[in-house]
């Protein structure tokens, strides 16, 4: 199908973009990579009266590496994070590994990190990463800029805490020290498909014990979620197969996914167990 008519504004600055949004509210929609939005418009599931294109706004295609955090700007494409080399340490490794699983190559050359987070698909790699690391989303409007923590940002499927007049101008991620080990595992029927279940982990090890553990899951709820049950199992124990199996079981016992076309709920629970264990094993470089 073809999209319905819309007015098109190619913004030349953030000020211009937010002033259009401030005037039009939810009649307007921001477009960056458009890899989800244009498909929805082609189906007429989305019919924005005005499209505010931010692709020509200077300064948004920036990866800003600070002392302890990284700001990923609204025009940073998936492919750039996948190719890596800009974000140091384990965070850079995790961005490259997860980025490789976002859609297919021609989607990754155009789609953006921030756009994926603003779209809030609970099976999106970047949304799970944002939940894993307690990312802070930088929302800009004519009223100013605020930072929204991940646990408040993801409201439900395709719904975020962004107000209609706000643009997600950047996502702030904490840099991970070299003591952190990161792992990622997802299951999909074919490479490049949306994952049915994914798990992402970041564990900090000191003196042979896990001192900090983060486990996040995608595809099991209406938003990406942390598994506090798995994290509680991990902290204080020595990393290894038994610890990881126990954490995977704890994660599986504490999710209540719905069944769908891919399989019944029990199938997803089993996948949670497998993906958590796999991502933990990969984090320690054994998978």
């Amino acid at each position: 199908m073809k999209p319905a008519s819309f007015d098109y504004v190619s913004a030349s600055s953030i000020d211009q973009a937010v002033s259009v949004l401030s005037e039009l509210g939810d009649e307007a929609k921001v477009i960056a990579g458009g890899q989800s939005l244009v498909a929805m418009m082609n189906f007429r599931l989305a019919r924005p009266a005005t499209l505010v294109d931010i692709n020509r706004v200077p300064g948004l295609d920036v990866i800003d590496v600070g002392a302890d955090s990284v700001a990923v700007g609204a025009l940073v494409r998936h492919r750039r994070l996948e190719l890596g080399g800009e974000v140091p340490g384990p965070l850079g490794d995790l961005l490259a590994e997860a980025g490789h699983h976002v859609g297919h190559l021609p989607i990754r050359t155009r789609g953006t990190f921030c756009g994926s987070i603003a779209h809030a698909d609970p099976a999106s790699e970047w949304c799970v990463l944002a939940a894993l690391l307690d990312a802070r989303m930088e929302a800009t409007s004519t009223r100013g800029t605020r930072l929204i923590p991940a646990e408040e940002f993801f409201v439900t499927v395709f719904t975020t805490a962004l107000e209609p007049d706000e643009i997600l101008t950047a996502v702030h991620l904490p840099l991970l020290s070299e003591n952190h080990h990161v792992g990622f595992a997802e299951f999909s029927r074919r490479a490049g498909d949306f994952a049915i279940v994914m798990a992402m982990t970041a564990i900090e090890v000191a003196d042979g014990r896990i001192t900090d553990a983060r486990v996040a899951l995608g595809g099991v709820a209406a938003q990406p979620t942390r598994s506090s049950a798995a994290e509680a199992v991990l902290v204080g124990r020595a990393p290894g197969a038994e610890t990881f199996a126990d954490a995977a079981s704890a994660a599986a016992e504490n999710v209540t996914p719905h069944g769908d076309v891919h399989g019944p709920a029990e199938y997803r629970v089993d996948l949670v167990r497998a993906m958590v264990r796999r991502s933990l094993t990969r984090a320690l470089g054994e998978g």
Binding site: A4, S5, Y8, S10, A39, L51, R79, L105, T109
Partner: protein
Amino acid sequence: MSSQERPVTLEVNGDPVRVFVEARKTLADTLREDCGLTGTHLGCEQGVCGACTVLIDGDPVRSCLMFAVQAEGSEIRTIEGLESADGTLHPLQQSFWDHHGLQCGFCTPGFLMLAAGVLEKDPNADEETLREALSSNLCRCTGYQNILKSVLAAAEKLRS
């Protein structure tokens, strides 16, 4: 809402092109209807099949998921620009011919532009990289094996 047509200037296969299109017109439809380049095919119009893949500033992109107005000033390459000026087939095209890389041919322009984009950036792409890149697009005839074979053979030829 506006059905007003706006001027868009593109460089298509090396030639400057100026078209007047509504903002809602995708790049794929613009190439086909306003530039007369019907080699770019539309399969699904939702970014899944990859038949409409073209190169924009060197990168493979789904032209059904981009509006022509967004491509203002971009360098676009379509299947029509793949062969040499004298009509000699590009090594990828010749290889698809030689290795039976197509049957009905509907998906072929997308596969060729995808493979061209990948090999231009990474001439030494190994089989795994190419397999994965080719999984971006759908083909309902060949079973993919001959497409992969064609691209591997072309990659070798392009390197030599």
